[in-house]
């Protein structure tokens, strides 16, 4: 379970993109998310919603990659929102300072609503 490889799906909205993940957000998992985000940034997207409802575990390198993404989004003056986080992950994000620059929503719909 720990080693479950991360799979992700990206759904593009008008101004935002939703990336839903499934599996462990570790180094390769985080890399996948980052690569997809950067592709979408190249396509012109600035607002991202990361749906982690099917990812229950994240390690420190995964978080460091998320911080890197946040920094890039901030450079583009965009936004990043998380949804579907477990309590532990949500608290970890808070501890690690991610919530200073991002928002956490319980569901994807709420995150989308907040963007529009």
């Amino acid at each position: 379970m720990l080693e479950q490889e991360l799979t992700l799906t990206a759904r593009k909205g008008d101004k935002y993109a939703v990336i839903a993940t499934e599996g462990y957000i570790n180094n390769p998992g985080g890399e996948k998310i980052a690569r997809r985000c950067y592709q979408l940034m190249d396509e012109g997207y600035k607002h991202f919603i990361l749906n982690f409802s099917k990812s229950k575990v994240i390690n420190s390198i995964g978080i460091s990659i998320l911080i890197e993404i946040i920094e890039k989004v901030l450079e583009l003056k965009g936004s990043l929102s998380f949804c579907g986080l477990t309590n532990t992950i949500a608290k970890t994000f808070r501890i690690m300072g991610l919530t200073q620059y991002t928002k956490i929503f319980p569901t994807e719909e709420e995150a989308i609503t907040a963007l529009s």
Binding site: M1, L2, K56, V57, N59, S60, I61, I63, S64, I65, I67, E68, E71, T86, N87, T88, K91, T92, R94, I95, M96, G97, T99, Q100
Partner: protein, 841 residues
């Protein structure tokens, strides 16, 4: 692109013009060979050369492909010629077409063809060496030179085809495809059993072409085809065997080809010769027996006392032939016992001026009732024999004798009738069927027709017949010998084996035939032995090579060469073994690489562990009014966690805890540097905000992308029980208030160290009372995981602290570890665990 198209178009046009001119220069229907009129053809050679040069597609082919293409071109040209000869019915046009094609093989036009071939092959193309070019020249040259020499030609074709028939596609096609091809070829060879091979080798059925070059190109073509298919069959058989998946079948085939087949061939030859000799002996005795018996009758009459008496008596010359007729009638009766239907004629020729006397037996047909002379071609030694005379066929014995007074000529005629044949069969115990004396049933039949000029033609149908011997007949008018037919013999094995007493008294006819037969059968057997030995040798060589490859491979692997791969052409059990061997070496190689890597990591971890043990505090501080205890357990031998105590001025204790993302020696070194940086900074200013600012910039400089360090720095004023703290992405410390029985999280939200340079961290503070707990921890506790992947989490940890807050720090630590262990249930620890518990007394 356009230039290539242009070149090709011009090339084709030039060749077309040259070929048309070439054909136009030939005079259709001329008796002379084309070469005589084809000198002009040479003038067209430059056109051909330039045209061919412009068509450079040939360059992409390798040498063997060119050779194969050349042979194919030759075969297809001649095949086309045969086809056109069949299709074109107008003699004039046919002759023209024939000459067009055949001139290809004329010596002079052969020169042209050689030039064309060289041109096609583009031998000046650089990749081929001088030696190979020379070889190719030699082969093509010999090919044309040997057109006139059949045997050499065949040998050459064999060489070429052996080179060309390596047929790599036979290796690449699937096994079922090879089996299908083999079955087709087997079908071809079986069909030959119903189609006499001699027609294939010497194809009278094909249209006759008048050729300057020996007139044997049809045969050459068919022989080439024959050899080609034979070689193809052998090649396919070898390929089938080589790729056979069963070692057992290979071994069996090897024995079959190397032992059973040669021995079988030899036994077959012996048996065949024995059979042939036995049968031939019967035929010989039959043939000679009839002749001898008839000859004996003739000899008896011509030397008989009665005839001598008649010659001596004077009244013989009186002109009456009554005594002679009586003698003839008497002899006819005697001979008819052996040869039914016999009649005879005795002719006496006195000296000149006197009439000839002819004695005739009663059965003598009217057309034979007159005197006659022996034809000039006649020789005594050809009697008795079969003769065609006056539209009939006879076994005839002619005897002549010359005395002082008269010439005697005796002719005994045995008509070739049904009765005569039956009598022969009865006497010699053979089945002899000559038409028109048809017998019911399945015997062979032979149709003998005689044309108006007295020539005899024969057609043979032989259901079930397997041995055929010729009978000849001589035309009485001109002495020309033609084939009367043949005798079909159906001997039983009993007859064959009981005919072993050969009559060697007549070595000429008998031995010659048997010798020829023996040579032919022995030659065939020898070819079979050579081929089967070759095939068997290839099979066993393949097996040996496979075994040798395995032995070599084992040695190489034994010597430690794990990169060595055992190559195997076959697909049998050796192949499976070789594949397993190669897989084993791969696994061994990987395993050894893993072992080396593991050793390297272990070494690294040990080194890092030493570094870490020198970084972490050796013991917990002993403070008045406080009870302090810490615990650390790395996930691997070296973790990324770091904690420390700093004894600061004014009775203050600095408490530090951090976590570098990652483990191993890199994390250990970073911790070491962080500690150095911290200790240096504390010397300058130990204020919380200054320390974090400096530490952040240090980590930002040192850590590469995506490596962060969470860090919590706090100062405990021991006297005032006041904690000043700030956290850079590290888990918030817990404060348990004993008086309130409540747990507080000392929050301070900020990024970990190293994300942004020159970040200012805000400090916060908290106050403690006796009995209160202060707990610092790393994420290893929260991220402890059970077998289902569920995390221990914050809630459980908080509940655990509250539940056990009354305990002494050491007991609290033990209870934390115990519950974590119970929760994990054997699941390996994912991250380092570090915890500092401080209780205010």
């Amino acid at each position: 692109m356009r230039r290539v198209l242009f070149n090709k178009t011009i090339g084709y046009l030039l060749i077309l013009i040259a070929a048309s001119g070439w054909l136009l220069f030939l005079k259709p229907g001329a008796a002379e060979p084309p070469s005589v009129q084809s000198w002009w053809v040479l003038l067209l050679l430059p056109l051909m050369i330039v045209g061919g040069y412009l068509l450079d597609f040939w360059r992409r082919w390798d040498l063997s492909q060119r050779l194969k293409a050349f042979v194919s071109l030759y075969l297809s040209l001649y095949g086309l010629h045969l086809l056109v000869s069949y299709l074109v019915q107008t003699p004039h046009l046919q002759a023209r077409v024939k000459r067009g094609f055949l001139s290809l093989f004329d010596p002079l036009t052969a020169l042209l063809a050689i030039m064309l071939a060289i041109l096609f092959c583009q031998l000046y193309y650089p990749p081929h060496g001088r030696r190979r070019k020379f070889l190719f020249f030699a082969i093509i040259g010999l090919f044309f030179l040997s057109l006139a020499a059949n045997g050499f030609f065949i040998l050459l074709v064999i060489l070429i085809l052996f080179h060309g028939l390596k047929l790599p596609w036979l290796v690449t096609v699937s096994h079922p495809s090879r089996i299908k091809l083999f079955l087709i070829l087997v079908g071809f060879w079986i069909s030959l059993l119903f189609f006499p091979i001699r027609f294939l080798i010497s194809p009278q059925i094909l249209p006759e072409a008048t050729l300057f070059l020996g007139g044997g190109l049809q045969q050459l073509f068919m022989k080439t085809l024959f050899v080609y298919i034979l070689l193809l069959t052998i090649r396919v058989a070898i390929s089938l065997v080589e790729t056979s998946q069963r070692l057992r079948s290979k071994t069996a085939l090897s024995y079959l080809f190397r032992a059973v087949l040669p021995i079988g061939a030899l036994i077959g030859v012996v048996l065949l010769n024995y059979t042939f000799q036995g049968v031939y002996f019967r035929f010989h005795t039959l043939y000679q027996g009839i002749f001898q018996r008839l000859d004996q009758h003739g000899e008896r009459i011509i030397t008989g006392e009665k005839l001598n008496q008649l010659i001596r008596t004077s009244k013989l010359y009186g002109g009456t032939s009554s005594p002679l007729n009586s003698l003839a009638a008497e002899e006819e009766r005697i001979i008819a016992a052996d040869f039914p239907g016999t009649f005879l004629k005795i002719q006496l020729t006195p000296p000149e001026g006197r009439p000839k006397l002819v004695g005739l037996s009663p059965s003598t047909p009217p057309e034979f009732r007159r005197a006659e002379s022996l034809p000039p071609w006649f020789r005594e030694d050809i009697s008795p024999n079969f003769f065609a005379e006056k539209g009939e066929k006879f076994l005839k014995c002619i005897k002549s004798k010359k005395t002082e007074t008269v010439e005697v000529l005796l002719q005994i005629y045995v008509p070739f009738t049904k009765e005569a044949i039956e009598e022969i069969e009865r006497l010699y115990q053979v089945t002899l069927r000559l038409s028109p004396s048809p017998a019911e049933g399945d015997s062979a039949t032979m149709q003998i027709q005689q044309d108006a000029e007295g020539g005899v033609s024969l057609s043979l149908s032989s259901p079930g017949a397997f041995l055929r011997f010729p009978l000849t007949i001589i035309n009485w008018n001109n002495g020309v010998t033609t084939e009367l037919g043949s005798v079909q013999l159906f001997p039983s094995w009993k007859h064959v084996f009981t005919s072993s007493t050969f009559d060697l008294s007549d070595p000429n006819s008998y031995l010659t035939s048997t010798k020829v037969f023996a040579y032919v059968t022995l030659s065939i057997a020898l070819i079979i032995i050579i081929i089967s030995s070759f095939v068997g040798g290839r099979i066993s060589k393949g097996i040996r090579q496979s075994l040798h490859s395995l032995v070599i491979g084992t040695k190489k692997i034994g010597e430690g060469d794990l990169d060595y791969k055992i190559g195997m052409k076959s697909r049998d059990e050796y192949y499976n073994l070789a594949t397993a061997f190669n897989l084993m070496t791969d696994n061994l190689k990987r395993y050894m690489a893993e072992m080396v890597e593991k050793e390297r990591i272990e070494h690294e971890l040990k080194t890092a562990s030493k570094i870490q043990s020198s970084i972490l505090p050796e013991k917990d501080p002993s403070l008045e009014g406080y009870e302090v205890i810490s615990y650390f357990h790395p996930a691997k031998e070296v973790g990324g966690d770091y904690y420390d105590y700093l004894h600061l001025p004014d009775n203050r204790l600095g408490i530090v805890i951090g976590d570098v993302s990652g483990h191993g020696i890199a994390a250990g070194l970073l911790m070491s540097m962080a500690k150095s940086c911290l200790y240096n900074q504390v010397k300058t200013s130990y204020r919380v905000e200054d320390v974090l600012f400096a530490m952040n910039n240090m980590v930002h400089e040192l850590l590469h992308k995506r490596l962060l360090m969470s860090f919590c720095y706090s100062i405990l004023d021991l006297k005032r029980r006041r904690l000043t703290y700030s956290s850079a992405g590290h888990h918030f410390p817990y404060h348990y208030s004993a008086s309130e029985a409540a747990l507080y999280s000392l929050e301070s939200i900020a990024y970990p160290l190293g994300v942004r340079r020159d970040t200012h961290y805000k400090k916060k503070s908290a106050h403690f009372k006796p009995g209160d707990l202060l707990i610092f921890y790393s994420d290893g506790i929260i991220e402890t995981m059970d077998g289902k992947g569920e995390l221990f989490g914050f809630e459980r940890f908080e509940e655990l602290i509250v539940r056990n807050a009354h305990l002494a720090p050491a007991e609290l630590k033990e209870s934390i570890l115990r519950e974590l262990k119970e929760f994990a249930r054997g699941t390996p620890q994912g991250d380092d665990i570090a915890v500092i518990i401080i209780k205010v007394k």
